[in-house]
Symmetry: D3
């Protein structure tokens, strides 16, 4: 592969992907709205660009083979704020990718596209959308857009529905945890699988309590290695009693399923940068 592009490279997840992606290609162009990323990896170049601006995406993707699109607002916010980065951002990336002749978009989708399903529904990758927030609705939009660009324009896409890629701090995460190593494997497979068409795969580790079904994406070869059960004893001991009928404790989306539309949820999720902790 000659050229890979990564959006959202300054974000928490993006920062873990820069090094492995730089090794998969002759050139990695990392991009974000930050001024710079500090130290770069061999073969990596930084290009500041705003995903909400089509022209900047069109420039960014020049000559690329695959774009790994992780740039987005990563919390629930009012629809008007979500519109630019998460809705238009997705359109801009796919349209520019098509105009530039890329082969594939690898997209950071989310469990929140289907977050209103009961956690005891072992949902597969073909369950109809049931978003839990505007954040999730933007993921639905991008997935539907991606499928259409594949069916109408032969631009491949792999949508990674990430569950919880963060330190395990609550009982829900015993099922939803995606370790950073497994994230890297997931993105690697999404890039290196020879043909993918339009595919959806859940981003979750090999947790005993993993609540979703990746079997339809089996051909991608994503086989996670980590297991949150190592944290179970500690987490269960500290856990508050569950609200057995509450949305937060019974739906795949967790706190996002319970939050009011447009209100921030991340503080509640207790997501921290834990590169050195887990």
């Amino acid at each position: 592969m000659k050229k890979l592009v990564l959006t959202g490279a300054a974000g928490r997840l993006g920062s873990y992907l820069r090094e492995p992606l730089s090794r998969m290609s002759d050139e990695l162009v990392s991009s974000d709205i930050a001024e710079d990323l500090g130290q770069l990896y061999p073969g990596e170049r930084y290009q500041k660009a705003d995903i909400a601006q089509y022209d900047q995406m069109f420039d960014l993707l020049d000559g690329a083979d695959v774009v790994v699109h992780f740039g987005a607002l990563v919390d629930e916010v009012p629809f008007e704020e979500m519109l630019g980065p998460n809705f238009l951002g997705a359109y801009n990336v796919w349209e520019a990718a098509y105009q530039r002749g890329l082969k594939r978009v690898v997209y950071a989708s989310s469990i929140h596209a289907v977050g209103m399903y009961l956690r005891s529904d072992f949902i597969g990758t073909d369950a109809p959308h049931r978003p839990d927030t505007f954040y999730g609705l933007a993921k639905c939009f991008a997935e539907d857009l991606g499928r259409m660009y594949w069916e109408k324009r032969q631009l491949e896409a792999v949508c990674l529905r990430i569950l919880s890629c963060a330190r395990v701090t609550n009982t829900r995460a015993l099922g939803t945890w995606l370790s950073y190593d497994d994230l890297i494997q997931l993105v690697t497979r999404a890039v290196d699988t020879p043909t993918t068409g339009f595919s959806i795969v859940y981003g979750v580790s090999n947790n005993d309590r993993a609540p979703v079904d990746n079997s339809k994406a089996s051909f991608l070869g994503y086989r996670p290695k980590d297991n949150a059960e190592q944290f179970a004893e500690r987490i269960l001991k500290q856990a508050q009693p569950a609200d057995i009928k509450g949305l937060s404790d019974t739906r795949h989306g967790g706190p996002f399923a319970a939050v009011d539309l447009g209100e921030s949820c991340m503080i509640q999720m207790n997501i921290v940068d834990d590169k050195k902790e887990n």
Copy 2:
């Protein structure tokens, strides 16, 4: 019912709905971006409003029980043009309906939300989205939004996936035709059914060749009466040879499934106002 609101009242389909809706409620407020509608029906009032403007929707829905949302661009256009009326328009109507305390949104969705399925797939109302155009993608967006407003905010919605509500002029329409009388029954049921939650129903007449499955929406009681088979002999005799592998002749979306994204399709569809013809 005290107050109904109809958007898109000046449009082709909206114009057929004004009279029956005016009889279902104490007051019908018809709305569009036109200056006026000419002669009004008893109980009908006209209020000019742009669906792409949230404030105007918020004003329009004051005191309403149900909004019948038919306002939209009804052809394929570039994404940037679609964004205001079809994407933001849907958000504005649902958000205003929620803020104003309405009970339900009745929405003119479309077969183009699932237009890339093979015509020989007898798709039901729970088939995952496969849009064929930006036009269809906007319908996917609105349906997902509507489901979320129901699940998070208890605002009901009935999405009418209309197939072809127009004069029967080609072989595809032998299956996809929705007569105006059946359209009226469909909207009537969507309004008068006591509880609907979030529901999807295909808008198609009782055609011998109807290619979609409404059984999951059976409780709504939509039972169409008309049948396009009355036109079959004439239409089949005039028909050009089909392209048996082409998208237009094999997918539910018809010409929309074959058109380039962003390019107009309606001329090709030969849709005309045929109030007096069929």
Copy 3:
């Protein structure tokens, strides 16, 4: 057919079945816990018997070909009261039928065996049980028992899951109504179909708004003729606003889905003998 037996012959539904069943067989033995039924039909004989007493069932079924088992408490009551007539009664009828060598049991089951499903779920006859009351739980018990007697002992059974066989007095009944004529057709088919194995079929008329799916029972040839839509305009006009999230207005079981376990529900249902009214 030489001998048919009907239990619950003095009940509201049973009383409608006596005449047609008497014409389908050389001898009809009608049974109940009443002292007598008054005037009998040609070929009909009355035998008082308590379904909760095995010996009386064993006597009753002597020489019979088929038993039509409609005897039961038909309201929600505490479990201890339900036990005798509805649980033991079912066991007694099936066990006696087996010991007496009958060919088939035709059983008055109920929608309340699956009453907790959403009304907008178009449930089929193979949906797993979700009872809404002890009344419904007894129907689940009898259906499972009946399937076992078929699979282990080659005693056929047809379970008629009746929805609402009563005057149409509320919006739910626009979907759930079973007319008396259609009840008779239903029982007739359950008796005259040459082989049935173990089968379940919903007892509902050909209502526009019928919310259940009988397609798997198609071979039985039950094709109802009546349609509650004739009452729709009147009923909808009088209807109270629905509780769009309440169990009573959103589940198949209606008021049974909302009632406390063990508390009477029939008064609320407003079921009356309406032989001459509808």
Copy 4:
């Protein structure tokens, strides 16, 4: 349509198709192994040909648009006898149709391709094969071949799984009857539908007791008009007691499901030419 070809034109079903097919095309070439057909219809020509001989099929299909392939042995016989007309015959017709550039094969398949399913299974057109005889196995072979010629070579096919196109003389036929008028409608739709790809449809009338599910073939517009229930009272009165566990009375294939492989079944089926009787 310029030229249609009918094989098996001298057979019982073929003889009913000659007249309507002759009216659908400029030229109908009827074919069989008989010396002649007697009186021909306007536009009809007879060409003697053996389906088991590829060269004769290649000659026959010269210039044709569609072939309606009804030629076959229509009883259970040993495999060696079935091989020529029913296996090789199907291959010869499809291969010649491809080599001659035809658009479509309309094929007389049979319920016996799936005859081992329980009659109470409401099987659809996508149920995996479960043949009941070598006769049924040949139908499975031809259907799989036809699907492959569509997927590899863009030759369309419609497989008509006929249930019982004959006089109603037994209880099974109350469900399985296909009237001659409905047969003609079925073949007409299979010929005139503009695009069919590879499709399967059950050939059965609109019987109350029809035991199979044609919904997936809905787009073909086959809507039968006749109903065997008109014969029910007479047939049920004369019927012998069913064998409730026997293959013949419980499987879709009826007597074919019970017969020893390779042994004739037609006499048992009591199939007669009843052009003037039903």
Copy 5:
């Protein structure tokens, strides 16, 4: 957890659960109809009680959080004998649990609730009931009851459909074995998972030949460790020829599927206490 209650504590399986359950809670109350259990574990208390007596269950569950209900007759017996311990016992436990405000019932269900399915059907936890005995019918009753108490009264339940928790002595057990360690894990997960709603999970080890599908219960995190394949060579060598059409060798229920209703099956199953043997 403050207080756990175990019924059937003197039984074969119950005796394995006392120690691990005593470590999961401040207090374990073990109960049975035996006079005493001998030596108790730290934190364990014994309370004699008869599950067939509601008052005794009501006393027993005072102050408990969760009841692990393993008390039952564990063989096929006539219905009248099964009624008290297995049917009324289940009702008594659930009703008392509800009246006492418990959070959850963990219930020893059984494969015999679905024992009539073909062993080659890889049945999931949502397969409709097909009991093979009165023993299995009682499990069906309790599962349906448990679902209802969840849906109507918010009392959670986890039903453990145990296959064969006993020494591996026959070829069926190569698939159905549940080791004692895996039983303990299974019960532990059923108790410690924060929210379960109403759930069903098969109790079977990680056998190569395991014939059932637990994927829908994935969120519970039950991941068995043992594998009966270690016994395969020895068992297969000693095995009698199978009866390839017999119920015992082809159905999930094994000998229970073949036994006459009401007749003991356990001797035939060769179930022994094997604490020290496997």
Copy 6:
């Protein structure tokens, strides 16, 4: 087991099976059309026989318990050439096995029976046939025949749908590889499982990228050990760019899905004898 018969013993796969099969039975009769096999294993005997000749199969199977039928042409060839060995050969083996009273046929079927499915369809063992070649069509024929012999004549069968049992030389094989050790386990389970009825199982190793679903065959206990991911880095590095819309790169059948019917495909597949290489 007293006597096993292996057809195709001189073939590439057959040659790997001789030694393990010889150890599973008192006598192994290996058969092929070669003159001899060279050195035989203890308990092995060679009998030259042509599968296309019924009499030779009838002789061969005298006194056998199970036949492992691997004899066939293993490339795409014109239908006329396929007919004898692959179609008639299958019939001859099953018919002779029935006439000789064998218990079971173990059959080398192939992914090419369903080779036209999209590789991203995680097809199970109950997916309807979609053959990609005459070679695959013969597998469909044999599977349907085998199911019929089970349902009509109680002759068991296990059909092994082998994906790619050969050296891993291309990206497709990263998903489709079946190692020789896993082949042996697969055949062993197919022979030693006590009852199988008619079963289908995919022959594929435990590859990360395995694209098919064996869960329905779980009871057979086939649990492969090898994983082609060991070859992934090397293979992916050397790979040519994929044709993302081409049949060869997107369908389960690989090159067979793209080849013209009747044209050889094996050279393209680069299948070599690699006993000592992988």
